[in-house]
């Protein structure tokens, strides 16, 4: 019955569940709100499962396509579809949403319904971003998701949350507004169409391509975030509640990277080739310089935030190598980073709930009191450092190999991450977990409870599975990536 509208379900089930949660009203019904939220998140994940089981890995065409007229005045359609690039991201998002709901179960006691609803609605909107094949539909989801995120950071965030929320919102809005102008320009260039796939074949002059390249780069570069427009991320991460940080790192950053593959490369291929050096340079700065910045952080969340920027530098680097290995490596890195950063922020959340501090210096000797937690944390720290057999290794290795094919020095600078990543992650791990207990409050910390084990365990399985056998992931992407690169290799100059 719903076979034809899986993508609509994937988008609207979480949003409607969010509305249902909101309807429970005040905190008197907090328990009810939590259960509805969990049911909604699980249902949202379940309806996304057919995307995998029914996915045809042999074609690069859009699958599960839905198309209906939406705003005929401007030829805008409700047009959905996924390929090998977007499908895994939808699944990742639906999965993380379930974890976020569980992670906020006890921690959030104030305005529970609004909290849960914000996450569910945002989850639906993000699925919409990945599934949209119409420019304006994409834009609506892309901007719409800012509203719940703004509230999440601002309402449940830390002491400096107002500053962080404004900075995050205005920064990302700046990028997307210029993208909107580019989209309108494309509408006229393509003869009155907002269809993204039509845009892929629209011929464009070099000046127009260059200008649009920068407009799109700003829109998506801010989201990724790329150096030097990354400064909102550490602020937002530090101030956001745990769930907010998880979604920010695991999902919203991927929206930016996804935009590179869906918009920048195929729509302005000539400018992308011409200006690839620029993106590569920014990516390498992110990898090396931000890696050093991470080393100097005293706040764990900030450290992971900077590490996210460095890891996302890998993703953009891989994309601009213009070979399948690089693009697939970038995509694998995106998924892997989704798991690993989510897990690390959840780990920090576990510690923060007990000690109410994110400062590395307040901890030490945690392994004595929380051995199970320490084991989980160890796995995720290793994955973040890119240890083989964890998912972190696969993507980085593929991108470095791809870079070697293009230019030795790119690969050389990129490979510094293996040292820097290990340095900042493991050094943090050492200071937090090992050593003797110096802070008397650490003495009283209890080990992870069943709920936390469930969340961390689920992520641990994903990290290991992807690290040991990444083939199912790359199989899904492969055909789409090869086709995309073939398309990008053709000039669109008139």
């Amino acid at each position: 019955m719903f076979g034809q509208s899986i993508l609509s379900l994937v988008i609207w089930v979480p949003i409607l569940a969010g509305v249902a949660v909101l309807a429970t009203g005040s905190d008197r019904n907090a328990a009810l709100a939590r259960w509805i939220a969990l049911a909604g998140a699980l249902l949202g994940f379940i309806v996304a499962v057919p995307l995998v089981s029914g996915f045809d890995t042999g074609t690069s065409a859009m699958q599960f396509v839905e198309k209906a007229t939406w705003i005929p005045a401007f030829n805008i359609h409700y047009h959905l579809g996924v390929d090998g690039i977007s499908m895994p991201l939808i699944l990742l998002n639906s999965f993380i949403t379930v974890l976020v709901v569980i992670a906020g179960w006890q921690v959030i006691q104030d305005k529970v319904a609004q909290y849960m609803a914000a996450f569910l609605i945002m989850s639906g909107l993000i699925n919409g971003v990945f599934a949209s094949l119409d420019g304006i539909l994409f834009y609506v989801f892309f901007e719409g998701m800012l509203i719940p995120l703004y509230l999440i950071v601002g309402v449940w965030g830390g002491p400096n949350r107002v500053y962080a929320a404004f900075k995050f919102f205005l920064y990302t809005l700046l990028g997307s507004l210029l993208m909107l102008v580019s989209m309108i320009y494309l509408y006229f260039q393509s003869g009155g169409s907002f269809d993204i796939q039509t845009w892929h074949t629209t011929t464009l002059g070099m000046t127009a391509q260059t200008l649009m390249f920068f407009a799109f780069l700003l829109a998506f570069g801010v989201k990724v975030p790329m150096w030097p427009v990354h400064t909102w991320l550490p602020d937002a991460h530090v101030e956001a509640p745990t769930g907010g940080s998880v979604v920010l790192a695991a999902i919203t950053l991927k929206v930016g990277a996804y935009g590179f593959l869906r918009f920048i490369l195929p729509i302005v291929p000539d400018a992308s080739h011409e200006l690839a050096w620029f993106v590569i340079m920014l990516s390498l700065i992110a990898v090396a310089y931000i890696g050093l910045v991470a080393l100097a952080q005293a706040d764990m969340k900030k450290l992971i935030a900077y590490s996210s920027i460095a890891h996302m530098g890998f993703v953009t680097l891989g994309f601009f190598m213009f070979n399948p290995l690089g693009v697939e490596g970038g995509l694998v890195q995106m998924i892997s980073h989704g798991f690993v950063s989510a897990a690390l922020f959840l780990c920090i959340g576990v510690m923060y709930d007990r000690l109410h501090s994110r400062q590395i210096k307040d901890y030490g000797g945690l392994v004595n009191k929380m051995p199970v937690f320490a084991a989980f944390f160890m796995l995720f720290a290793m994955a973040n450092a890119g240890l083989p057999a964890t998912s972190g290794f696969v993507g980085e290795f593929m991108v470095i190999l791809a870079a070697t094919q293009v230019n030795f020095w790119f690969a050389f600078v990129a490979a510094t991450t293996l040292i820097l990543g290990a340095a900042y992650t493991l050094w943090m791990y050492k200071r937090v977990v090992f050593g003797s207990v110096t802070n008397p409050q650490v003495e009283e910390m209890r080990d992870v409870n069943a709920r936390e084990i469930l969340v961390l365990g689920a992520l641990a399985i994903c990290v290991l599975a992807m690290g040991l056998y990444p083939k199912p992931f790359t199989d899904v992407m492969h055909v789409s990536v090869v086709d995309l690169l073939a398309h990008v290799a053709q000039s669109k100059l008139p």
Binding site: E143, G144, L151, G154, V162, L170, L180, V181, I184
Partner: protein, 481 residues
């Protein structure tokens, strides 16, 4: 007799409103203060009746009437329907506020309906004389409305400023019209358009005339640099009057501009387009920047109105049917948002307390999550963030501007709207992130709450399905111009 009827039939809604206003005036003089609600109910009935007449005689093509003074076309009918709706919502929102302040008098309703009549005439005018007549009927009613609170010195000052500057603007407009008359030899918009299309060698007087007309229009719209009156009047007037001034007259002003520039001076688009570009850019810049500095919500909305009018001008300056259609969509959406914004101030106000400071919105989410949510929708809509209808309004005017090749103008517009997003976000911040400054419960009557809910949800519903309203705008313009 039947000749008489055919002659006046297109103006039936106007005649009906005039008759009803006279009736209310007489009835109101005869009843005492406890029965003022009669005037309120009669006013609403008038609006309903006028809406019925407009719908019944909905024209599918333009009909000139009254010797070419008056035109009844789909554009005017659609705009009139929105005017009735807007005025009705204004009356509902204002009732409690007026009662608490001793302003619940027949005069308010009579003035509001006279202003409506003026707007209806403006919307349906096809002649400089009728345009001017409608404009003055509207303006004089508004001056009196602002001054209705006699013992408030701020309100009196605002009325005085409004009157003096408004008179100046009217003078400019008349001067410009007289020059156009000198060039074309006609006051009827159709004849003017025809004469100008045939070409004229009196370029200089014509351009002079256009400059004065555009300056006069800019005054009425409140576009920079003719905006000085807007913040003072919005701030000084009692909030119910601000609500009125900030909503329906904008719709009429749009019609006014389109009738003159789009119909009468259509062939001179090259002359007035550059003027409107300057007005639009300055309005968006000054409006958005000055709004940031305001601590009074009414003043902030005043500056935000200025920037919104700048945005609307973007659609008009495109000079295409698509452009006028997008401007119309913009102005209707703006009226909806403006009603909601000022309506919320009225709703939170109570006897002896005006909720017009930014701080009065602190922690609204704790006091009333539902009202806070509605205000959130309104603010994001004003900022142009999807999925609210404000986004499509901006999208529509931007695409009209890009269509004529002014990409730089679209870029400037989005950058100014980014600045604008800041102060709308600040309201959301106050409501959601801060703790209440005034914990007292909100005393609003159920009917205002229902209308407010409908108003806020309309912003969201039209944001998810904007097509019907867009189609109405495009169709009305397509069939009229």
């Amino acid at each position: 007799m039947s000749d008489f009827l055919t002659l006046f039939a297109p103006a039936l809604p106007e005649i009906f409103v005039l008759a009803m206003v006279s009736l209310i005036l007489v009835i109101d003089a005869a009843v005492d203060d406890s029965k003022r609600t009669i005037a309120y109910v009669l006013s609403l009935l008038t609006l309903g009746g006028a809406a019925f007449l407009t719908v019944r005689d909905f024209s599918t093509m333009p009909v000139l009437a009254l010797g070419g003074l008056f035109i009844d076309d789909p554009l005017s009918d659609v705009l009139k329907l929105f005017l009735y709706l807007t005025v009705a919502v204004v009356l509902v929102y204002s009732r409690d506020y007026l009662q608490q302040r001793g302003l619940y008098k027949g005069e308010f309703f009579v003035l509001a309906l006279f202003a409506l009549l003026g707007m209806m005439v403006m919307v349906s005018a096809s002649h400089f004389l009728t345009l001017y007549l409608g404009l003055e009927l509207l303006s004089l009613s508004l001056y009196a409305m602002v001054a209705l609170q006699r013992d408030s010195s701020v309100a009196t000052e605002a009325a005085m400023k409004y009157f003096v500057l408004g008179a100046l603007a009217s003078g400019m407009l008349l001067y410009g019209m007289s020059m156009v008359y000198g060039v074309t030899g006609s006051l009827a918009l159709g004849n003017i358009a025809q004469n100008l299309a045939d070409g004229t060698d009196l370029r200089i007087p014509l351009v002079f005339g256009i400059v004065f007309i555009v300056a006069g229009l800019a005054f009425k719209l409140g576009a920079v640099p003719f905006h000085m009156w807007v913040p003072d009047v919005y701030h000084g007037a009692p909030t119910a009057m601000t609500l009125f001034i900030g909503s329906a007259p904008k719709i009429a002003a749009f019609a006014f501009v389109v009738r003159i520039l789009g119909q009468g001076l259509e062939s001179q688009v090259a002359e007035w387009r550059d003027m409107l570009v300057i007005l639009a850019v300055l309005s968006m810049a000054v409006g958005n920047l000055a709004a940031i500095a305001q601590s009074n919500l009414k003043r902030m909305f005043a500056y935000s109105t200025i920037s919104h009018m700048g945005f609307m001008l973007l659609g008009i300056l495109a000079g295409s049917q698509n452009g006028y259609g997008s401007a119309m969509f913009y102005v209707l959406v703006y009226a909806l948002m403006s009603l909601g914004g000022f309506g919320m101030i009225l709703l939170l106000s109570r006897a002896g307390f005006e909720a017009d400071q930014l701080d009065d919105f602190k922690g609204l989410n704790r006091r009333s999550p539902w009202l806070a949510f509605l205000m959130l929708l309104l603010m994001f809509s004003m900022a142009g963030i999807p999925p609210t209808v404000g986004f499509y309004a901006k999208l529509a005017v931007l695409q009209a501007v890009v269509e004529i090749g002014y990409v730089w103008l679209a870029v400037a517009a989005v950058l100014f709207s980014l600045i604008g997003a800041f102060y709308y976000l600040r309201i959301v911040k106050l409501m959601y992130f801060d703790t209440p400054h005034d914990p007292s419960p909100i005393a609003a009557s159920p009917d205002t709450r229902i209308i407010m809910s409908a108003n806020g949800l309309a912003v969201l519903a039209l944001g998810i399905l904007p097509q019907p309203l867009m189609a109405v705008c495009m169709h009305a313009l397509g069939a009229s111009l």
